[in-house]
């Protein structure tokens, strides 16, 4: 029997070696009939319309609706995954629907969405679908957003940056050990990826989910903030997100709100301008303030905007230009 070809997937740093009939670690890329195929192309398993604040993106078209889609699978295997019922399953084991790339923007527009989010699981693993949908969306004036762990190789990422307008990237911890032990990944490609996005003009916001006993270390958070300041800039919004017991880490308690507030203070003291606390209701850490004079610019609760005082993207008091994409 002739030997079949073996493929190396060069999309993400895992560089999976895949033989006929097998899938990569992400479960979404399978060698079929002598070719590696993106089997979830045009086959989302989750579709929803969200407020953009849910991504979270606080400095990108605030108050707008975003058409959000995902396909099954993921190239990371975080023990605290909140969407594990779709990210940690094979596409053939879940219900999918057909939604080809040219329909994605049409449906988004029909639903009065200004943008499309490739989210919930990991857009990297349905790369071709994201790319083609984004090109068509751009043609129709719809923006593209990735909500991602940023675990992707440089070349495909650069290409993606040509059609993506904004990204919320998870920086899961500033520790390679955390990435290896909790996520089955490595830290450096994520850092490199964020720098690439910034350099290529993608509006970037960073989320750090604080998991008790795993990455709730103020010294680590301080280092992370210094890195963000040095490599992404003071205007890059940082979201500290509250952990709730999920998937394989149900034994842990939710993150104490007090710790999240301490982390926020550290980040602000480091020099970051816009630092938020997510998954906690009723605090002023959801609001946007002018970094120059402290004027309240956007008041939020949960995913709702209660007040938006920005004037043409500027502070109404001191006229400081506030970083973001406001229209």
């Amino acid at each position: 029997m002739p030997k079949s070809d073996v493929f190396i997937c060069e999309l993400c740093p895992k560089r999976c070696r895949i033989e006929e009939g097998q899938s990569g670690d992400c479960r979404a890329r399978i060698v079929v009939d002598g070719q590696l195929r993106a089997v979830t192309y045009g086959r989302p398993c989750a579709i929803h319309i969200d407020p953009i604040e849910k991504k979270p993106l606080f400095h990108f078209l605030p108050g707008s609706r975003i058409f959000s889609i995902a396909t099954a699978g993921c190239n990371l295997h975080c023990k605290n995954c909140q969407n594990w019922t779709i990210s940690q399953v094979a596409p053939q084991d879940i219900r999918n629907i057909r939604l080809p790339p040219d329909r994605v923007a049409e449906v988004a527009l029909a639903q009065r969405c200004k943008s499309i989010a490739y989210t919930y699981t990991e857009p990297v693993i349905y790369y071709e679908y994201v790319l083609d949908s984004s090109v068509r969306a751009r043609e129709k004036g719809v923006r593209n957003v990735t909500v991602t762990a940023g675990y992707i190789n440089g070349e495909p990422l650069k290409r993606l940056c040509t059609v993506v307008d904004a990204s919320n990237t998870d920086l899961k911890a500033f520790s390679d050990n955390f990435y290896r032990e909790v996520c089955d990944a490595r830290l450096k490609p994520v850092l490199d990826g964020m720098v690439t996005m910034k350099e290529n003009g993608v509006w970037l916001e960073v989320t750090n989910l604080v998991v008790p006993t795993f990455n709730d270390d103020l010294e680590m958070i301080r280092k992370m903030c210094r890195w963000i300041l040095a490599h992404l800039g003071a205007d890059t919004p940082l979201h500290f997100s509250r952990f709730y017991p999920m998937y394989k880490l149900r034994n842990l308690p939710p993150t104490p709100v007090d710790f999240l507030m301490k982390a926020r203070r550290e980040a602000l003291e480091t020099g970051l301008h816009h630092v938020y606390v997510g998954n906690v209701l009723g605090t002023d850490a959801e609001n946007t303030y002018c970094p120059r004079d402290g004027t309240l610019l956007i008041r939020r609760t949960g995913y709702s905007i209660l007040e938006n005082n920005l004037k043409d993207g500027k502070c109404p008091t001191c006229h400081e230009k506030i970083a973001g994409v406001w229209s």
Partner: protein, 82 residues
């Protein structure tokens, strides 16, 4: 001015949805059909296709496979042969 989004049936704004930064996973419920239309559901498995794959493998003499039923055959980008 307060805009109460929790009244929109399309948005997950229940307290449990606020537990995670991307919210509770929206599954393919009737809501999706309302958004994108109904056609095009994919059967989870197809016995016929699997049988066909087995027969094809038997006659071809070369390891081959078929994509899981209903999934795409779109060639992947960024791939090389070993």
């Amino acid at each position: 001015m307060r805009r109460d989004r929790t009244r929109s049936p399309l948005w997950d704004c229940e307290p449990e949805a606020l537990q995670t930064h991307c919210g509770v996973v929206p599954r393919l419920d009737p809501l999706v059909e309302r958004i994108v239309g109904s056609g095009g559901r994919i059967p989870r498995r197809s016995f016929c296709l699997m049988s066909l794959a087995a027969v094809s493998l038997f006659f071809s003499g070369r390891p081959r496979s078929v994509p899981p039923a209903g999934l795409s055959r779109r060639p992947a980008m960024y791939v090389r042969k070993e």
